[in-house]
Amino acid sequence: MTELRQELARAATMLDLGRYDEASGLLARVVAAEPGSSRAWCLFARAHLGADRYQEAVEAANRAATLEPTEEWPHRLASNALMHLGSHAEALRAASESRRLAPAYWQTHVCVAQAALAASQPTQAAAAAAEARRLAPNEPDVHFLSGKVALARGDLEGAREHQERALALDPAHSGAMNELGRIRLRRHDTAGAIRHFISAARATPGEHIYSRNIDVVILRTVSRMIYVFVLIALLLLWVPPVAHLDNFPFVLGFGLLALGMLAAFAVMVLRLPREARRLVRRTLRTRRVATALAVAIGGVAVAFAAVAFVPADELPQTLPVAIIITIGARMTATARLRSTAARTHAGGGAGRNQPGPSARR
């Protein structure tokens, strides 16, 4: 029995250090030798969760629940894994069961809140988060989750307060920093959002979602810039047929538009922190983004040239073609950018490279 306890302590330490594969190896041996140990199965489930093996995590958690039906931890573990598998209704059921078994334990309420949030039930999530806050007012993860629930309900101010409270309790809580960035993004404050994402990436460089969020914001900004550029270009294309202008002022107008967009982008970039400016440069140099920009600018330039250099009597036939070219260029450029951003989106992270608080004992 002492040996089992020692092996489990060893496995728990490995899990705390984020060494999921080593822990899995050890626990596989332990559960083979002691299949009746509920704690061993729970730790095994946690190891699977940490290594993104969700189906195995559910199976291990279910084994633990069968062995010890009054224990709440297996249900929390199962809920967490089911959430990752996309079985939100089942996840919520498992979380509710854990809360029924241990209503005085704040982690069970956090688990319910997480599952309800994933199941798009923000009202239930808010109630569970409030109960968790009542039980553990000084737990940063509780405020972090409350902030996420508030953000999902559109309460930006409430979300900000909760995340700031989480940071006050744990100044290194990178998840809260990331959430503050997402709140800024919802307020269309790109530079502010990037600053928060940078803080999060600085606090936890191993969590790649934060730097990906920065990339997403940059791509969105470039996409928006292309949109505005094309929109103004579309308006300017109507100038020659309506105002009967010469070529020179028309071409000058196109040049000024391009320069104006460039200046606006440069100002936005200059407002960013130094690290983000470096990232912007790198993003602009990637092939997809460079292609998107080239397609947008090239398409608009072709359309302008067509309108500027055809004889005035051919303008009625040329103008629709120019408009189609401009819109086509914008659509191609946006599709190009979307394929870059498709791999990720400005998402939230737990803040640590470990299963969330609801998975821990």
Binding site: A9, R10, T13, R19, A172, A201, G206, S211, R278
Partner: protein, 449 residues
């Protein structure tokens, strides 16, 4: 001297009649090698290894290199005649035919001497002479070899070797790492008078960091060898054991052992496990372990001479900043993926005991830029597996060739991507105080940022 075709034919018939007779096959294989019929010899050696996987003689014949094309080594002075080494009718089938003592052996003339056991015979067998004898029948292991493989294998000890007493000379490539080690650690240590003159203290340890599988542990061993110190290594498993017991006492005892063994290098592998940021640790014994480690490091600096603490980590950014203050692990050294010469050496090392032929190490080194030492080991393993499966399919063994290795390189992707993603984040966002300037320089050089 080449064997008579008739002798070969009769031996072939004998082997066909007794396919499980290992000594007979070995003898036939040796004669075939001598006759230049390499393919058939390799097939027989493969059959021997199927029946007796550890047969040293068969392995020796398979792996013994031949000189580069066009070279004809002189005939061996003391070759074993077929008649002498052929198994006699009353020799037990299990007794080896070829590894008898060479003709010049003093025991040859004395028939009354007891026949040594097979193991004894193997111990007396002159392998280098046998290699010379067979050197013209197998292709050179590596295309750039000028008749010798030993130099490369010496260099190859840079990776994965687990023997004590190595020095930096045994570390192939990694010139920059060696230079920085010399400047930051070894030069002051080797010159106590100059150190005293300039008031340079030896306080503090050295933290080696870099991607996994790139030789940090080996470099640490080499440092110990370089300063002639004992080497105590504490692995991740040891650290876990410490946490399970009374961690503070365990850490204290570890340092006590190091002090008793001074001069001694105490090497803490994967120090992020023990020295993880305390803010990330929820487990109380682990938090107190970090505190104890800090205490011991300060003791080393104040009270002990001759204890040099080296540590290695893949994630220095997860190491508690308190551990990296002056007097503790205040010097860091980036150990990067192996450079060209180091990659060649790693290939040599992992292929040294495998039947290979015609390997172009320079080309392999070129196409594995960005691979870790562990990746290269995996490539060699994968190439061996490919050759083995092919041998099974064809029913005859063959050597591992360049094509196998190149196909494996195409299959095995470098494993360092995730590490470099994190390193990029560190370089961009967390290089406070220039702690990771060398990493930033490397990433810039490789256009990763």
């Amino acid at each position: 001297m080449e064997p008579e075709p008739a002798v070969l034919e009769s031996l072939r018939n004998a082997v066909a009649a007794m396919p499980d007779d290992v000594p007979l096959r070995l003898h036939l294989a040796e004669l075939l090698l001598r006759a230049g019929q390499r393919d058939e010899a390799v097939r027989h050696l493969g059959a021997v290894l199927q029946r007796d996987p550890g047969n040293a003689q068969a392995l020796g014949m398979l792996t013994a290199p031949a000189p580069a094309a066009g070279q004809h080594p002189p005939a061996p002075a003391a070759s074993v005649s077929p008649e002498r080494s052929a198994p006699s009718a009353d020799t037990p089938a299990s007794s080896p035919a070829v590894p008898d003592a060479p003709a010049a052996s003093p025991s040859d003339g004395d028939d009354d001497d007891p026949v040594p056991a097979a193991d004894d015979l193997a111990g007396e067998y002159d392998w280098s002479q046998a290699e010379n004898e067979l050197s013209d029948v197998l292709p050179a292991m590596f295309v750039d070899d000028a008749g010798s493989t030993s130099a490369g294998i010496e260099e190859a000890r840079a990776y994965d070797a687990e023997r004590a007493g190595i020095t930096l000379a045994d570390v192939a490539g990694l010139t920059e790492v060696k230079q920085r080690l010399e400047a930051a650690f070894l030069a002051p240590m080797r010159n106590p008078e100059l150190r005293k003159l300039y008031g340079k203290s030896l306080r503090g340890g050295l933290l080696l960091y870099g991607p996994p599988g790139c030789g940090k542990t080996f470099v640490a061993r080499a440092v110990a060898g370089e300063i002639g110190a004992r080497f105590i290594t504490v692995s991740f498993a040891d650290l876990i054991d410490m946490f399970v017991g009374r961690s503070e006492r365990n850490i204290h005892e570890l340092f006590q052992v190091a002090r008793r063994n001074a001069p001694c290098v105490l090497f803490l592998d994967e120090v992020d496990a023990i020295g993880q940021k305390r803010s990330q640790l929820r487990n109380t014994p682990m938090r107190s372990a970090v505190n104890q480690l800090l205490l011991e490091l300060d003791d080393v600096a104040n009270d002990n001479t001759g204890v040099f603490v080296l540590a290695a980590t893949n994630h220095p950014w997860d190491v508690d900043s308190a551990l990296r203050r002056p007097g503790r692990f205040d010097r860091t050294l980036l150990v990067l993926p192996p450079d060209g010469p180091a990659r060649e050496a790693v290939f040599r090392y992992h292929l040294r005991e495998r039947p290979v032929g015609g390997i172009d190490l320079a080309k392999l080194s070129k196409i594995t830029d960005g691979y870790s030492g562990a990746d290269i080991a995996h490539i060699c393993e994968s190439a061996a597996e490919r050759a083995l499966l092919d041998s099974v399919r064809r029913g005859e063994p063959r050597l591992i060739g360049q094509a196998d290795l190149e196909a494996s390189v195409a299959e095995v992707k470098p494993s360092l991507g995730t590490w470099f993603d994190t390193a990029r984040n560190v370089a961009l966002f967390a290089n406070e105080g220039g702690a990771y300037d060398d990493l930033v320089a490397y990433l810039r050089k490789r256009r990763l940022i």
